[in-house]
């Protein structure tokens, strides 16, 4: 049996080990749910805001941990509440004061991050802190897997229903405001989706790297296509391929899985920069199709 498996080095870790299969399934869920949200984050020029939001969920997860230990529901609920609170507070301050949105978000996420680290250090160990910050994709249990799959399903349905709204809001928000009252629904609905996926991502990749599986595949895919539909599909493909490759690297070279996945996605992005048709190198060689009819 082991000889047969050794003939398929790309498959054997997933056939042999349940924890690898779970990790792959978790990454598939994140690729399907979080990566399309990452595409819209990038298109709304909110990539760094996504990073900030990923830190903002920390105190909620930490309070959940303080109350119930490493409990999935408690940490998830805490993360959701903290993330949504920061999104609403930051948006409210930006709309009602002279503070701009980026500064507003930065202030709240810095408060959140420091409060979260403080709370964890009061009660937990550095191992617990590492779990929250860097996740544990190789230790996903059934409950975590169901949570990832559930959030991914919710996210896919919401994006499918609101796709036209999100596209219009990303492309021409002032036009949307003129023709429809759904602008705030699009904005806050998107923030809810973002927080949902960041909370899902932090179970697998931790708060620091959850945003990696959102932004890196989106940025890589953007270097290949100019249309939103194919962009979403390619980004999901890149996310899953990068996750698969990252898990295999982690297995064979004995690397920590989360960083291996994010670094693999980063490598795909760099490769896309080099050879993608919209990358800086390839686009110089292309003839001027701007003038074609």
């Amino acid at each position: 049996m082991s000889e047969t498996l050794s003939a398929f080095p790309l498959l054997s870790p997933f056939i042999e080990f349940g924890f690898m299969r779970r990790a792959l399934a978790g990454c598939l869920a994140l690729s399907l749910g979080a990566t399309p949200v990452g595409v819209f984050l990038m298109l709304r020029r909110m990539s760094l805001a996504g990073d900030a939001m990923s830190h903002a969920i920390l105190p909620g997860a930490a309070i959940g941990y303080l109350i119930a230990g490493l409990s999935l529901p408690a940490m998830t609920l805490g993360g959701l509440v903290a993330g949504l609170a920061v999104a609403v507070l930051a948006g409210g301050v930006a709309r009602n004061t002279v503070i701009k949105e980026d500064t507003s978000l930065a202030t709240f996420y810095l408060l959140s991050l420091s409060a979260g680290v403080l709370i964890i250090s009061l009660r937990g160990s550095s191992v617990d802190l590492l779990h929250v910050l860097f996740g544990s994709v190789l230790a996903l249990d059934d409950a975590a897997l169901f949570l990832l799959a559930g959030f991914a399903s919710l996210s896919i349905v919401a994006l499918a229903l609101g796709l036209r709204l999100f596209v219009l809001e990303g492309c021409d928000p002032a036009f949307l405001a003129r023709i429809s009252r759904l602008g705030p629904v699009a904005h806050y609905g998107f923030m809810v989706l973002l927080v949902l996926n960041l909370v899902a991502g932090f179970h697998a990749l931790g708060t620091l790297m959850a945003v990696g599986i959102m932004i890196l595949p989106a940025a890589a895919a953007r270097l290949w296509v100019c249309d939103i539909g194919p962009l979403l599909v390619i980004a999901v493909g890149v996310a899953f391929a990068g996750s698969l490759a990252g898990l295999l690297l982690s297995y064979y070279i004995n690397l920590p899985a989360g960083p291996a996945i994010v670094l693999t996605l980063g490598a795909i992005y760099l490769l896309s920069l080099a050879i993608g048709p919209l990358g800086p190198l390839t686009s110089r060689w292309r003839s001027g199709w701007h003038f074609e009819r």
Binding site: L43, G162, C171, R178, R293
Partner: protein, 259 residues
């Protein structure tokens, strides 16, 4: 656009002692009067005269400091408003067809489908502004003139009874101006009310039967030839530079009726 059903030739807009401004500083003073449904009206005046401010207020994006704008037989969301600086992100990965199709939002909303007749109307709108063949091109790859044509096509699909255009020919070549001016004439022929802020007075004389000359207050309103007289233009320039008899316009004494 589909021709409008003929309606009563009454007013579509009424200004009642309208004063507009920003941060409590008035930009347009005490405007009164009406705009008849089906008008093709140019608004001209020096920089800072309040032309764009007036359009913004008609579109409902600026609350009057004083007075009111009454829309008659038309709702705010039925107004098609093309601003001076397009607010769209042209790096967004969307192709011309899908971008123009956004003009159908009022009909299809977030969930409605594009049936055959709507697809035909999108194709007609794209064809009508001379972008046929570029349907699959990303908007980021369009020239300034082509992008303005795409914006006109989107306005076309909005099928609006009241169309507001703020300096629509700002950065485009003569051929595009000629083609888009023909589109504006067609909208007027269909019975829509079209109000356009413009700077090119020779274009206004050629294309617009009716003109409103603003310089932070109403200088003149009526048929284009008489409004754009040397005396009116000189008075407008003086008012805008704060040198005229009415230079103290900031204290709002110029209660004139719009004709």
């Amino acid at each position: 656009m589909r021709p409008l059903a003929p309606g009563p030739a009454g007013p579509i807009l009424r200004f009642e002692n309208l004063t507009l401004g920003y941060n409590r500083h008035p930009a347009v003073h005490h405007l009164r009067g009406e705009v008849a449904a089906g008008s093709l009206l140019a608004i001209v005046g020096p920089n800072g005269a309040g032309k764009s401010t007036l359009l913004k207020a008609i579109a409902g994006e600026l609350r009057p400091l004083q007075g009111r704008i009454e829309l008659i037989g038309v709702q705010r969301r039925q107004i098609a408003y093309l601003t001076q600086q397009a607010t769209l992100d042209n790096s967004f990965p969307i192709v011309v067809h899908d971008f123009v199709a956004m003009g159908l939002w009022r009909e299809i909303g977030a969930f409605g489908g594009l049936d055959r007749s709507r697809r035909r109307r999108i194709a007609e709108a794209i064809d009508g502004v001379g972008l046929n063949g570029l349907e699959a091109r990303p908007i980021g790859a369009l020239s300034g003139g082509q992008l303005q044509r795409a914006l006109f096509a989107r306005v076309m699909l909005q099928d609006a009874p009241l169309v507001l255009l703020d300096e629509p020919y700002g950065a485009i070549d003569a051929a595009s101006v000629r083609d888009l001016a023909a589109v504006v004439r067609h909208w007027h022929d269909e019975g829509r009310t079209v109000i356009v802020v413009l700077h090119d007075l020779s274009h206004v004389r050629q294309e617009y039967p009716e003109t409103m000359l603003l310089a932070r207050e109403l200088v003149a309103r009526g048929d284009t030839a008489s409004v754009l007289s040397e005396a009116n233009l000189l008075r407008a320039r003086h008012l805008a530079e704060g040198r005229g008899d009415d230079a103290h316009a900031a204290v709002c004494h110029s209660d004139q009726d719009v004709a």
